[in-house]
């Protein structure tokens, strides 16, 4: 097939391939260059960045931006908080979603269609910000870690993805055989279903964890104490509110302060996004698997 293709590769096909390689290479550069620029700008002398001298290579290499971040306590508090919220939040998500999705995948579950409709409807209509906010106040979750976890304890989309996975991968015969052996639903789930479902658990962990790591809206509306702020909220203050304060105050002029501020901004972007960007290529297949199961249902 391949050899045949080579021989019969017409002029039109060759043109198409050249065009294809060109376009995708341009796309690749458009996506990759800004990411690369952040890396080099975070270790270049800000005066050179301001003068537009940093384009392809760092200029007057410096670690100063990172050194200043290391001295900035809120950044670490934020990092620690986000780690805690992400771990506990994801744990809650997965412990609720996986058994729920399995139960909903069972054809012999009475009331399954009603429950699925109930879940699906929330994807197209919701109460909105204000009623949810008042509910969180009423439940006394305001300014508590749980306000970032409980209102997003289950994602309807993820629940449906996990359910679709179970429907596709756990054959009915397996359940029949296990039931004949006197296996209860709980035992079947723990001993048969879970070991066969490691990949969907991984997908769920990743999907939920990324949302916790990157989320800032719930923290913005539900948290009051700065010592509870997650990383993204701390980042917002650094990137937009210019609350750099003593991080830059030793710089002599306003312009110098602003330059130092930019250097720190490039640095915090790196420090906060790097864990995900480095981990993601290794976990890529799980993310893609998750999207694809969702597409089947689409």
């Amino acid at each position: 097939m391949k050899a045949e293709n080579k021989i019969s590769l017409s002029r039109a096909d060759r043109l198409f391939d050249i065009f294809n390689y060109t376009i995708l290479t341009i796309v690749l550069l458009i996506v990759a260059y800004p990411l690369y620029f952040i890396v080099i700008a975070s270790v270049s002398d800000p005066i050179a960045v301001y003068a537009g001298k940093v384009m392809f290579w760092p200029s007057s290499f410096t670690w100063e931006g990172y050194q200043r971040i290391l001295e900035y306590e809120s950044f670490f508090t934020g990092y620690r908080n986000t780690l805690i919220y992400t771990v506990i939040g994801t744990l809650v998500n997965v412990v609720i979603t996986i058994p729920g999705a399995y139960a909903l995948s069972r054809k012999d579950l009475v009331g399954r269609n009603v429950m699925m409709m109930m879940v699906t409807f929330t994807m197209i209509f919701n109460g909105g910000l204000i009623p949810t906010y008042l509910l969180v106040l009423k439940l006394n979750l305001y300014n508590s870690m749980w306000a970032l976890i409980l209102p997003v304890a289950v994602s309807a989309w993820n629940l449906i993805v996990a359910r679709t996975f179970f429907q596709q991968t756990i054959p009915d015969e397996l359940l029949e055989a296990a039931t004949l052996d006197g296996c209860s639903n709980f035992q079947f789930f723990m001993q048969v279903v879970l070991p066969l479902s490691k990949s969907i658990v991984a997908v769920m962990v990743l999907f939920y964890a990324v949302n916790h790591w990157n989320g800032y809206f719930n923290a913005l509306i539900y948290l009051k104490s700065p010592d509870k702020y997650p990383l993204q909220l701390v980042l917002r203050n650094i990137l937009f509110e210019n609350s750099l304060g003593d991080m830059v105050e030793d710089a002599s002029t306003l312009a110098a302060q602003q330059r130092m501020g930019d250097l720190i901004k490039y640095g915090v972007i790196m420090a906060s996004s790097l864990p995900l960007l480095i981990l993601y290529p290794f976990l890529q297949r799980y993310f893609i698997q998750g999207v694809m199961i969702g597409a089947v249902k689409g």
Partner: protein, 317 residues
Amino acid sequence: MSQATQNALRANRRTASYRKWKRVLRNWQLYVFLIPTILYFLVFRYYPMYGLQIAFRNYKASKGIWGSQWVGFKNFQRFFATADFWQLLENTLAISVGNLLISFPVPIILALLLNQLPSKKYKKVVQTVIYAPHFISTVVMVGIIFLFFSPSSGIINHIIVALGGQPIHFMAEADMFRPLYIGSDIWQGAGWGSILYLAALASINPELHEAAVVDGANKFQRVLHIDIPGILPTVVIMFILNSGKVMAVGFEKAYLMQTSLNISTSEIIATYVYKRGLLNSQFSFSAAVGMFESVINLVLLVTVNFISRKVSDSSLF
């Protein structure tokens, strides 16, 4: 109907419901699995819908939701009468319709090209890179926009100046908000969005391509006559899903990109609800504004779905 048949029917019904209950009892553990999920949806998803009635009341914190006075559609009328209404509607629609017309086709084109790329290795490299921005948080994404488009230090303005132009203060120009919003959405999301279409392309029967090659069809013709029709149902479904979000432009990005100078284009319904509701505590009024948004979305989704079912046989429900 004879007496005997009726008795038989009744007995039948009784056994049917008996069997049903037996199935419920036998699977009681499955219901235990579902308790947290059901509780979550009732408390955090359905109770707020019930709470939406404050849009029809004059909410006073001291009286609570149920004790506040009914005012009918007054909050809605007030919103429609404000000077902000048309501006908000225009700003929200400009972004979402722009996204639907400009951003929507990009992942489809990317998937079609990637799918035809002869080198699998290069395909993998391109995919890995273009999916990556999906993992950048909104806060960081907007931070990058501010840094790159800064008038004095941003790399974009360095390029503009190097090409002989005048530096543009992007974040202070109302006209620049929409292009920046939509452009950065494409940069961040188009790669990730192509996964879905690549999956659809992978499920096209390869024999179709083989037969077309025998018939002398070139690659471009095969993309046009095999690949595109093959993913059309997926495209239609995605289009329906997206049109149901026309009014739901996300809060996070628009709010972060707002400056006092671009507010005339960057104030959208979601940011308006946040400011009026949570910052000014006008709960009933902003709940009405939020509800207006969700109802329009619901109507649009159902309408587009209906049209699509009639025209193309692809539909969500």
